[in-house]
């Protein structure tokens, strides 16, 4: 799957020595209870390959490191969303809790989908004009030692919007139409995308069930023919053929589900999480706005002696807010470009893969039909 629409792999003076498009999260292995991801990438200068092994904690460390609270402008950045942690049960079965939490990322063979999501995350960070300059990314990708040992500061990405008292602020009216629109759209789209993703997941799960049921049917017919005294040889032949037909049906569902997961499923999932990330950013800005407006009021109400201090405070906040807003504006523009490109890629590869599978299966069905027409009746 092609990554974002940006053609340039690197940003000018980005500081990242790694080519963004070369970042690959290859596989995940289970080391006792922990999933270990193998990440490869290539140096820009000489194309030399780098390979590291990281755990989820390392990714978390990266995410935390990207956010620097003392850089107010950074609050206007839409941070690429990191998928939630994948807990593997001992039999590496997907349990319902994981499915609820991770959706599509929980499906696919051997965490393949999850690895892809992590890969996308790293690439998004590497492509970000500001974030890619953060040394933490370089460290994660190239350091021999795992950086996650350092306890990262927690809390910034604790969903502010989930704290009840903060929720009121979410609907606070904006001073800027652009942002008010954006907030409204985002709110609407986030909900719709989430629902669409869930429903698509239901489709995929139904396909998987059908695949299992078809396989079961195919095997039981096969078994029966093997055991049965072929008193009626012609009938046995028909049964064998039928078994093969159901095998093909199973293959159809299996492949269709796989295609769904790896293209549109992943795409919708990313879309959904990215929209949440935008929501977070917009909320941060709104909170700042509330702060600013409060400071304004305080300044107005302040008595002469306090007025100065209040003004100072207000000015600082205003500067922060403006800086944040201007960053946010850029980010929003970038976000929309990027998400459309992402969805386009997802839809195109979804369609192409499904078309391939459908053609393959159609050929198989036709073969079966021909063979069945030739079946003897005696």
């Amino acid at each position: 799957m092609n990554r974002s629409g940006k053609t340039a792999d690197t940003m000018e003076g980005s500081g990242l020595t790694i080519s963004a498009s070369s970042i690959k999260v290859n596989e995940a292995t289970l080391d006792e209870d922990t999933l270990v991801f193998s990440i490869t990438s290539q140096k820009l200068s000489n194309g030399m390959g780098v390979c590291v092994c990281r755990t989820y904690e390392d990714f978390e460390w990266l995410q935390q490191s990207l956010f620097a609270p003392d850089e107010p402008d950074l609050h206007g950045v839409i941070f690429p969303p990191l998928p939630a942690k994948l807990i593997m049960s001992p039999q590496s079965q997907i349990n319902n809790k994981t499915l609820k939490q991770l959706g599509f990322l929980a499906l696919g063979d051997c965490c393949r989908t999850y690895c892809e999501a992590l890969e996308l995350y790293l690439q998004q960070v590497a492509l970000h004009p500001i974030l890619s300059k953060n040394k933490a990314l370089e460290t994660l990708l190239t350091n021999t030692e795992s950086p996650g040992k350092q306890r990262a500061k927690k809390g910034i990405f604790n969903r502010l919007s989930q704290v009840m008292e903060e929720k009121r602020k979410e609907s606070h009216k904006d001073v800027d139409d652009f942002f008010q629109n954006e907030r409204d759209n985002n709110s609407n789209m986030t909900a719709l995308t989430k629902v669409t993703t869930e429903r698509f997941l239901d489709v995929v799960l139904a396909e998987q069930r059908l695949s299992v049921a078809s396989k079961h049917l195919s095997s039981s017919i096969q078994l029966w023919v093997n055991q049965e005294d072929s008193a009626n040889a012609a009938f046995s032949k028909i049964c064998l053929k039928t078994s093969k037909v159901f095998e093909t049906i199973k293959r159809n569902f299996e492949k269709t589900a796989e295609n769904n997961i790896s293209t549109l499923g992943l795409g919708l999932d990313l879309q959904s999480r990215y929209q949440e990330a935008e929501k977070e950013m917009l909320f941060r800005r709104t909170c700042k706005l509330v702060e600013l407006e409060a400071a304004n009021k305080n300044t107005e109400r302040a008595k002469a002696n306090k007025k100065g201090i209040m003004e100072e405070v207000r000015n600082v906040l205003e500067k922060q807010f403006d800086g944040m807003s201007s960053m946010a504006r850029q980010e929003v523009g970038r976000f929309h470009q990027s998400r459309v490109a992402l969805l386009r890629t997802a839809l195109v590869s979804w369609c192409e893969q499904q078309l391939n599978t459908a053609t393959e299966i159609a050929a198989l069905y036709s073969e079966h039909l021909e063979a069945c027409q030739k079946l003897p009746e005696e």
Binding site: R209, L210, I238, K241, W350, A362, C372
Partner: protein, 547 residues
Amino acid sequence: MTAMKTRAAVIRPNGGRGSHDRPGASRLGPASHRREKMAAERDPPPPGDAGQARFGEAEDGEDLFVGAVGALESNPSSPEPASLPAEDISANSNGPKLVDSFLDDDPDDLFAEATEEVSLDSPEREPILSDGPSPAITPIMAPRIDSTLFDQALEEEEDNGDTFDICISVSDPEKVGDGMNAYMAYKVTTKTSLSVFSQNELSVRRRFSDFLGLHSKLASKYMHSGYIVPPAPEKSIVGMTKVKVGKEDSSSTEFVEKRRSALERYLMRTVKHPVMLKDPNVLQFLESSELPRAVSTQALSGAGILRMVNKAADAVNKMTIKMNESDAWFEEKQQQFENLDAQFRKLHASVESLVCHRKELSLNTASFAKSAAMLGNSEDHTALSRALSQLAEMEEKMEQLHMDQAYADFYLFAELLGDYVRLLTAVKGVFDQRMKTWSKWQDAQLMLQRKREAEAKLQYANKPDKLQQAKDEIKEEIVEWEGKVQQGERDFEQISKTIRKELGRFEKERVKDFKSVIIKYLESLVQTQQQLIKYWEAFLPEAKAIA
């Protein structure tokens, strides 16, 4: 007992003494009295209470003996009551639920067709005859069918060159009447070039009970000679009630469609049988514009208890009859069919599960399509919005495809397997008939032996004046029983021969049926795939157009 053949016997399987409820019930002419007397002479009165013949209101001339030819008569050495009517061989078998339905389509005769059904769940059920035809129909010819009839029919079939040319379709279900008295009438169209029909194209209207009536006539006529009579479709109280009360939802239309399809298959199977094709009942069913209602007015209690007694007696019978199978072929076949039955039931369950999953997929696809449409509507980016709307449309079309495919799964495979499970019950029934025939033959032999012993004893009797009379009587009886023994043996050989032929036919038909279904199924799969490919090909440019 060639005399038996000439006697017209009306088959009323439930004609047991419980049938007093029927007004103007058949006071069958003189025949019944004679038969009754004969039967009374032949078979000793039932030993215990098993003779539920004493049902409160025992009727006099009422016909009690069904299948009067005797193939189904009780074994004197068993505790089975003598006056038990023939078994009910059910056409009806159930879907996955066991429903003991006494309802007909037409509930003014609430217990009209009190039949029991064969459940697909239970491993073994006795086949039961559905209620007999109205006595208003002219008495059917003696039920013992010569297997020469079969041979004849087969020969004719082969002679005719383009042999089997008949196509029956059941269509246009129409609700007649209102409320709980309503019923469904179907149009039965026959297209044929066979000479046995009066026209090349015939069309009549029939209701469900007519089909059941036809089946019960055929079953009572042919089954005990070893013919495998195709079972009629099952009844369903729930389904019919929904239709009656006018519930116009998808489940009641599905039900009507399912039934229509089942009735069609039933008729086709029936006419494929060379002997049944020529049966006047079948011809009348397909040709006459008016068919006398298949009515039987058994009280629920009467018929129901009688049936239970039948079943109980049969079960006992089965246990006590230990047949010395001289022919390994039959034993093999029986085992084979047991296995087949188990397999078919299992597969049927699996296919039904598949159908369920497919319907689920269809629903989920519809849901997804709706939310994709909403997403597309809210999307600002024009090209993306368009693509999403196209996606939603495409998914809607796919939902329909999935649904259609689910119907194919169902109507082709699930129903086929269900039909065969019911057919196998009929096959089992036929084996049971053979066993009964054998049993009757053995009993006749036993009786003959007793008579001979009695004769021998008479030699040493002390009362010379009565001696001659007794000797004469005994001699008469011996002749009678010798005849019966011969008849019994002939019957047994005949039924065995017929069964062999029938099974041969059954095997051939089985292959044809399954082959035709798998081909139809594949054709539907191919078609679905082609459609799918078209949809994807149409969507691709839309997706690529997103800038």
